[in-house]
Symmetry: C2
Subunit: 144 residues, 2 copies
DNA sequence: CCCCTTTAATTAACATGTGAAGTATTTTTC
DNA sequence: GAAAAATACTTCACATGTTAATTAAAGGGG
């Protein structure tokens, strides 16, 4: 049954929204089992991959705004997954570090996370997957 | 200065996040002037394009979860931009309709909204723009 | 050294995202 | 035709998104 309705699948903002939902859905489910949100996971991964760093850099690497990150770091601190120390050189800053418990969570879920990414790459095919990333990155360059 | 860090621009979830931010940023700014959020705008557009309908359909068309939509409809009702009536055939349902004031907001911003979309299309070029939409839609089909 | 600006992080206030539970109504099934 | 299952919201609780205001500490002239 054909329709004259404008297809929301041809609206770029909505298509981006849905695509992200499809990609993140399985990962969110996996993380829910260990009571970690998608954003908390991103913060832990940044700390594990790049080492201890200040909140401003974390926010930039994990694509979070500082007010959100402040709350997330509080939660992660309560869970004992991160550690905070004052920066000796600049007392406005802190140095955030992932704890052993935090690393444990990374180790227990990283494999499944990588497999989820590989599944998507396989579904599209490597070339189209890379092409998609290129197109998305080009949208970002528009502002800057 | 080269770096061994994994580029977040090659992470699909983060690339999708940033791309959506680039696309929506200008539109959000435009809507902030009339005190309307991005989500409220989507609801109004759905009602204007497709006519009166029940919340479940609105949620589907505007890509919102029902709990979010409940709150959004309350706000839009308070602003006098929509109207709600009980469905005579099924008392569980309601019929939501956009008001004249709601239509006024659409008219005052639709042109700028369309121009923003055209700007992106022009930046990528029509073929690559369509290719991007195709790739994004393919990600959705993975679940179903 | 003091005033001014900038920067880092937090807090506040409001809106949405998200999963789970609750309520009312309709449909199904035996 | 009543109990059971499904549907259409709504409400709750918690987490994040987003903008603006706030606090504390550095830096930069004069």
């Amino acid at each position: 049954m054909p329709s004259d309705l404008p297809l929301t699948s041809r609206s770029l903002p909505i298509a981006l929204l849905r695509a992200r939902e499809s990609v993140m859905g399985p990962i969110r489910t996996m993380l829910a089992d260990v009571d970690i949100t998608e954003q908390q996971w991103r913060v832990l991964r940044v700390l594990q991959e790049e080492g201890p760093q200040d909140p401003t850099r974390i926010a930039h690497r994990a694509c979070l705004l500082l007010p959100s990150l402040t709350r997330i770091l509080q939660k992660l601190g309560e869970k004992g997954l991160i550690d905070r120390q004052p920066d000796p050189d600049d007392r406005r800053k802190q140095i955030i570090r992932i704890t052993d418990d935090g690393l444990k969570i990374i180790r227990n879920n990283l494999t499944a996370s990588i497999q989820a990414a590989e599944r998507i790459r396989a579904h599209l095919g490597p070339e189209r997957y890379e092409a998609l990333l290129d197109l998305l990155n080009e949208l970002n360059d528009m502002d800057n």
